[in-house]
Symmetry: C2
Subunit: 301 residues, 2 copies
């Protein structure tokens, strides 16, 4: 179902997040009691799919709102919830089921799953107050937790990550981590840190991981990445030169590739210099964007 | 000192964040013992300034690394730390001293302060493990905390926030919150939520707060905002129409302004339709960017 030419995975939600209901206990109770309300079934943090759609359940008659997060209201006006769990295993791991969901259901359902996964995982890992250590409980329809000790409110995390290509004289830089499948290369990436801009984070990560200095950094696109709750911010920067100095604890190898090589990679041609990340990853779209919009056009043979 | 035409406040760090030292206890100990090492003096979370520079102290002879965060190494190769505190008041509040720092010291020093403030505040509000409630202690030179109960590692938060202009037929939308000084308007803004892109967050916030539907959303720039630790992501989107429907709990008023009006605002002319946010805010630069790069050029009179 996933249209690889259009959007990265987990993008394309059609939910109205109904912010105005979350903070209004009366409206929230009415929404929770709506007979049309349903709940996205999860198996731990994994999706459950039947006949090409996410399995949805009705809410049990004895359900209580504090066990659920209100994901939003669909285009059909039906409220959609996810059930919170006390313990989530593998929040940082993209299981094959959680990755494959983008190929098995519609883009908007994959986006619905991604939001549910991030929120359910966050609640399971934030049952105590980081400020005082007391228990916290879900609040505002699952969009916050409130401390039973000091009354502090805590909000779901979104961790911005930069993912980027350095470009130099018509070639771009891709690298691979030690743990990746043989032959796989992708854009380099890293978390944005407190006190820096997107552009400063891009420059720092390329310097740290590959020894490359970049300028003229341009934003290309973004993607939510629910492992556990990243916001991938994809960019392209201009490298001052192509001499690499790899941080070998982070990066096993990095190579410069020209447009013909990247075309061969994306078309999965025999002899392509590496295996691309899957089209559900924003890195695939970043390579595709570079090829379509930035790469030098080769003179026809 | 702040060059308002160039960059928003807190942008322009010249620190090397020395990621390779943080995770290496031997290198970290050597860096902490460097006689050239110094510590940014803070008063609670506020900066301390003398003669146009941040006051820096040497590390006491009995200092222990777990009481400090390694901010990085300056262009002069001197390591710079900040001292952690057990309790930080007002992390979410931009005090006048913490705002004025951008006018009183160089851009790179204001950026140094911003990173220090976010990290010191994060440590003070994260002394316990959100997963199990046990105590945590600083780890990796202050770039993580580790749980003494369950061994979980916790990392400093960076909260992405979208801040944006909607454009419609040569005019842009600005709004004001109830609590703002009289006459002040600015770009609308809101936190990016789990499971959405930057562009989806921009569209959602404009819909929620002003009833405006936007498309063709373009990224403009970003800024760290250390109150307590936001990453401001500034964008412009094209509104489908200009009919407003305000969320009056969030927004007191919103108005459409043309290029002449925005020019009058930024030049602080008498009769300008509103008072701009200060040049240290990315919103000022977003208005300036729109005027310089996007706004329709008026036919000469």
């Amino acid at each position: 179902m996933h249209d690889e030419k259009r959007l990265p995975g987990y993008v394309g939600s059609r939910l109205d997040r109904v912010d105005e209901i979350r903070s209004n206990p009366a409206l929230l109770a009415r929404t929770f009691a709506d007979p049309a309300a349903s709940c996205v079934l999860l198996d731990g943090l994994d999706p459950v799919i039947a006949d090409g759609v996410l399995v949805m359940e009705s809410l049990p008659s004895d359900a209580v709102i504090e066990d659920y997060v209100l994901l939003g209201v669909g285009p059909d006006q039906r409220p959609i919830f996810a059930r919170l769990i006390d313990r989530a295993e593998g929040g940082f791991i993209a299981s094959s089921r959680s990755r494959n969901v983008v190929d098995e259901v519609s883009a908007d359902q994959a986006a619905l799953y991604a939001g549910a996964r991030s929120l359910v995982d966050w609640h399971a890992r934030h049952r105590f107050c980081a400020a005082c250590g007391a228990s916290t409980r879900p609040h505002k329809g699952g969009w916050a937790r409130k401390c039973e000790g000091c009354d502090a409110e805590h909000f779901p995390r979104v961790d911005p990550v930069v993912i980027m290509l350095a470009e130099h004289k018509g070639r771009i830089l891709v690298g691979r981590q030690h743990s990746w499948p043989a032959g796989r290369y992708s854009a380099l990436a890293g978390f944005v840190e407190p006190g820096e801009t997107v552009e400063e984070a891009v420059a720092r990560e390329l310097k740290e991981e590959a020894g490359i200095t970049v300028r003229d950094i341009r934003y290309v696109m973004s993607q939510p990445w629910p492992f556990p709750s990243a916001l991938m911010i994809a960019c392209i920067g201009q490298a001052e030169d192509d001499a690499l100095k790899l941080d070998e604890t982070e990066i096993q190898d990095a190579i410069w590739c020209d447009a013909e090589e990247i075309r061969a990679v994306l078309e999965e041609r025999p002899g392509a210099p590496f295996i691309a990340p899957p089209p559900m990853a924003v890195a695939w779209h970043l390579l595709d964007h570079w090829l379509a919009h930035v790469a030098p056009v080769k003179a026809s043979a």
